[in-house]
């Protein structure tokens, strides 16, 4: 029997940027798989290629060399439009700076990905309510981002990432702009989501966060230096649940 198809598979992926005629390799020859239901921390100091890697996993960027497969399909072979549609359905982004649209309230922000999935307004808002409920933010549905605290904005952003039931949630320094207590709450939320089977890839430079993920991929200067799966620290898991 063969192992189940990995959700995401990177095969010797390199990404080289050319700025002012100088080629800079942001990611070099990186390979790994991520399976359904995993929670993975991608660690490394700034400039180590974490964001570039996330852009490629999130179908915002394509590798210069090597292949990125999402559910077995080489994403480079898809058209730009197909990749966009796939993003709407399969990827949920969570950013360090939340990236909510300031001029839309929480529920409209959460419903935004469904606009690009051709779903009716009524159905969009109904699903956005469910999603807000899941992150405990339903009571703030009609607040605008500026009326919410950082932690609340990040919860709304997570609700937005979850609304289309994505294959994978990609979080880029999701606690980077939060104080440690709020950060811990957000991490607990991710952990809880993961327990429901949600695949999560979290990019961070904070070792404390990485220890809460079962698997940690470390990058340095664009190269993969380690890929470790830890035995879960049971007391910690129950502490955050």
């Amino acid at each position: 029997m063969t192992a189940p198809l990995p959700l995401i598979s990177l095969r010797s992926v390199s990404r080289t940027y050319r700025t002012d005629g100088v080629a800079v390799a942001a990611v070099r020859n990186v390979s790994f798989d991520i399976a359904q239901g995993e929670i993975v921390a991608v660690m490394g100091p700034s400039g180590s290629g974490k964001s570039t890697l996330m852009n490629m996993i999130g179908l915002l960027d394509l590798p210069s060399e090597g292949e990125v497969h999402l559910e077995g399909a080489n994403v480079a072979e898809l058209s730009e439009d197909r990749r966009s549609s796939l993003r709407a359905r399969s990827i949920g982004f969570v950013f360090q700076s939340y990236n909510l649209l300031a001029r839309h309230n929480a529920i409209e922000n959460v419903a935004l990905p469904l606009v690009y999935g051709g779903i009716s307004r009524k159905a969009r808002l109904a699903r956005a309510e469910q999603s807000l409920q899941a992150v405990g933010m339903l009571h703030r549905a009609h607040h605008f981002p500026r009326q919410l605290s950082g932690g609340e904005q990040q919860r709304v952003a997570i609700a937005r990432a979850l609304i289309a039931s994505p294959l994978i949630v990609l979080a880029d320094e999701p606690t980077g702009a939060l104080d440690s207590r709020t950060g811990a709450e957000i991490l607990a939320l991710f952990a809880a989501l993961n327990r429901t089977g949600q695949t999560i890839v979290m990019i961070t430079h904070d070792p404390g966060i990485a220890t809460q993920c079962r698997r940690t991929i470390r990058l340095h200067d664009g190269e993969l230096v380690s890929d470790e799966t830890l035995v879960p620290l049971l007391p910690k898991r129950s502490a955050v649940s």
């Binding site: 852009n55 999130g58 915002l60 960027d61 730009e80 439009d81 966009s84 549609s85 796939l86 993003r87 709407a88 359905r89 990827i91 982004f93 950013f95 990236n99 649209l101 001029r103 839309h104 935004l112 990905p113 606009v115 690009y116 999935g117 051709g118 937005r160 289309a164």
Partner: protein, 407 residues
């Protein structure tokens, strides 16, 4: 993303910045309002001319006095009444193409019926006048031969005069009215022919001369102020005209080489030429108004480019959340379109208001037709598409990664 969603997003974005949105569409508002107004005034002027052409009647020639020499002094046209009733007779008898002809003298006077009075044109003429102008009676009859020959005390009223002198239920036929103290019996009321034409009262030529206008120094017993003549068919106009000219030169003994003491005109042709001129001027004004539409379009493009730059991060977020390039393009194109359509709608309303104001204040006839409104709206949609495309295209081409990095 559907067109409808595009419009919803656009409306949402524009509502957040109402003043900016309004200023942006102001160029379109002004352009469309000017186009609608110019069209309304232009087609109003054309309508008035068409009505005048119709009211003159088809294939009508008008003969008016020309310049005269008195002892070597050239006097202004019309300073002497050079046409006579016998000229009318000669034209009728000697020129086969002429179906009907009539001479007229005219002046203004007060007409009085009981407690009502009205100032109008008194036209002394013969029944031939109505034949030339194809002017039917609404009630009553034309002048009889006896009345025409014997200065009968009868009058035929234009519909405006009848309306001003008689209450709606009153029958003017048989009623007595007074003009310059002379009592006259109303024998006929004419059909409506147009506001400018209906304000008139006709009396027999002999009556006018004997009782009203005879004392004027330049009236001799035989003369008329002008002659109108009806030509049988359209194609005979030029021939009839030159025949009348040579007949009158001969009758008036105009020496060869000297200017005619009369003028033969084709009023309908002259007005048609005038109509062409109005159309040209109106088109010119529309062209000028279109320039402001162009300027409006440029201002929309300018604001849209600024808006795309301002909202780079929003574009990045939308792209990351699954917005395709065409979705982004549609979103910004919809914004430009909404600006232009809204501006166009406000402009149409403004143009209608403006032309109605002009109509009331200047007394011009204006006519607002759906064609002008449709054209103005098509123009504004086209402006939105043309000037909105570049910023929208620019927005759609932004790299989502770069866009997400901007602050």
């Amino acid at each position: 993303m559907t067109m409808l969603q595009g419009f919803q997003i656009a409306l949402h974005a524009l509502r957040l910045n109402p003043l900016r949105s309004f200023l942006t569409m102001l160029g379109i508002v002004i352009g469309v309002a000017s186009i609608v107004t110019v069209f309304a005034i232009g087609s109003g002027a054309q309508l008035r001319l068409q009505e005048q052409i119709r009211s003159i009647g088809a294939n009508v020639l008008m003969i008016t006095p020309g310049a005269v020499y008195q002892g070597g002094v050239r006097l202004k046209d019309g300073s002497k009444l050079t046409m006579t009733e016998s000229d009318v007779q000669a034209i009728l008898e000697q020129i086969p193409e002429i179906q009907a002809a009539a001479g007229s003298i005219a002046g203004t006077a007060q007409v009085i019926h009981e407690s009502k009075n009205w100032n109008t044109t008194i036209n002394g003429t013969t029944t031939g006048h109505f034949m030339v102008r194809d002017w039917q009676l609404a009630a009553g009859r034309y002048f009889s031969g006896t009345e025409e020959a014997g200065a009968g005390k009868v009058v035929i009223l234009g519909s405006t005069v009848a309306r001003e002198l008689f209450a709606p239920g009153d029958d003017p036929i048989g009623a007595q009215i007074r003009i310059m103290k002379v009592p006259l019996e109303v024998v006929g009321v004419l059909d409506r022919k147009g506001p400018a034409q209906d304000d008139v009262a006709f009396v027999p030529l002999s009556t006018a001369k004997l009782r009203f206008l005879g004392s004027a120094s330049n009236i001799n017993r035989d003369s008329v102020a002008y002659i109108i003549a009806k030509v049988a068919a359209d194609g005979q106009m030029a021939g009839a005209r030159s025949e009348i000219e040579s007949l009158l030169r001969q009758r008036h003994r105009v020496p060869a080489g000297q200017e005619d003491d009369f003028k033969v005109q084709d009023p309908a042709a002259a007005m048609e030429a005038q109509q062409g001129a109005i159309r040209t001027v109106a088109l010119l004004l529309v062209a000028i108004a279109s320039v402001s539409l162009l300027v409006g379009g440029i201002s929309i493009m300018n604001v849209m480019i600024v808006s795309v730059t301002e909202r780079t991060r929003e574009i990045g977020i939308r792209r990351a959340l699954g917005g395709r390039m065409r979705d982004i393009r549609l979103q910004f194109l919809c914004e430009a379109l909404v600006l232009c359509l809204l501006g166009g709608a406000i402009g149409v309303a403004g143009g209608i208001t403006l032309s109605m104001t002009v109509a009331r204040m200047a007394g011009w006839i204006t006519s607002i037709d759906g064609e002008a409104i449709g054209l103005a709206l098509v123009f504004s949609i086209a402006t939105g598409l043309i000037f909105g495309f570049y910023p929208a295209h620019k927005a759609s081409r932004l790299s989502p990664i770069e866009a997400l990095k901007t602050e």
